[in-house]
Symmetry: C2
Subunit: 194 residues, 2 copies
DNA sequence: CGAAAATTTGACATGACTCAACTGGAGTGG
DNA sequence: CCACTCCAGTTGAGTCATGTCAAATTTTCG
């Protein structure tokens, strides 16, 4: 059996699983490599897969009726990413996921997740904790969206997620902040004056 | 022992717990009644309590530097409510919770939650599922905030949460949508013309 | 009924958008 | 090494959605 340079156990580094359990988990995750620009999920697909980012950067976004993109989340190393409405409620995807850098992921199907929940209870604890932190972060994002102007949201973003800023184009940041690229450009100009 | 008209088992209606387990759970939840206008949580409090709304309506909101309120969530019957950043990361509260109607809740401390996770694994499944749905809803809320104008967000809100609309003042809705009460008033006027 | 709270209205200000044009850099090929 | 193209980012002028502030009106409730 060939040994990958990537290892499942890094995902569950806070849990000490036996070799045996690791093997079970390994058999239910699929390691994949996507080139920059590749779509991993499209609206109306079955959204029955979750992605764990090992390396690179993914973008989760919604395309509205006018064809405009709106970025919901970026995903870099050690983040999980999915259209949660589709994945959790077993409906078709309403969002898209694309690789905005060459990216290595582990994919896990909903079916395999259910199997793991049943056979390795710690997995449920792991995902419960991940969800708790992600949900708390989204509550804070809602507050930022409601209470800050575009300039403050931009500053908030680049200080909260400096690692993401390095990966993404300005037009991605604009789409995440809910502003146009032109506005972001003007904001950056104003900030650089001071 | 007096029998309350409220019952823990309604919370876990999808789980069939033994009488014994129900008793354990019951001993770890505190039934409380709050009058309209009461603060259940204030920023800088220990945010180590979660509220399950039995009846009434709660509002989770953030107060910014200028003293303005921004509503993160409303909670009506069968919803859980907390400052998740505080509750999950064991930090001080950054949000406030108030009763906007006379409200009956079950309170559960973080400590009691941990006890339950350890002794009744189904509880972890219950909260994992609740979190999944709540997180998916927040992903959709982010999309709405990014892609819709104020009028569409208002229509979206009142059709998605008609039960909440009945409970809350227009200025609460405005604060949830991220607009002023004056703007909401004008939006309602325009919509009523058609 | 009367006071306080909530909502509406008007006049004006402003932050962000739109559209179009322009700049600059990265790559490509002759 | 230059010319060309493509993509990302910037700039300018005008517009629009929403905010601000003050006042009027309506609703709620003791």
């Amino acid at each position: 059996m060939s040994k990958s340079i990537y290892n499942i156990s890094q995902i569950f580094k806070n849990f000490s699983f036996s070799e045996e359990k690791i093997k079970v988990i390994e058999s239910l995750f699929t390691l994949k490599q996507y080139n920059k620009g590749t779509q991993l999920l499209n609206a109306n697909d079955e959204g029955d897969v979750q992605f764990y980012v090992v390396k690179g950067c993914l973008r989760l976004y919604h395309t509205d009726d006018l064809g405009k993109d709106h970025t919901v989340q970026f995903g870099i190393a050690d983040w999980w990413m999915s259209d949660c409405t589709a994945f959790f409620t077993e409906t078709k995807a309403i969002m898209n996921i694309e690789a905005i850098k060459d990216t290595v992921v582990y994919e896990m199907s909903r079916q395999n997740r259910d199997y793991l929940y049943e056979h390795i209870p710690e997995i449920e604890t792991y995902f419960r904790q991940k969800l708790e932190l992600a949900f708390a972060a989204f509550q804070r994002r809602i507050i930022a969206n409601l209470s800050q102007n575009a300039s403050d949201r931009y500053l908030n973003f680049i200080t909260t997620y400096p690692d993401i800023e390095k990966c993404v184009k300005n037009y991605h940041i604009a789409s995440y902040l809910g502003i146009t690229t032109e506005s972001l450009s003007r904001i950056r100009k104003d900030l650089s004056k001071q």
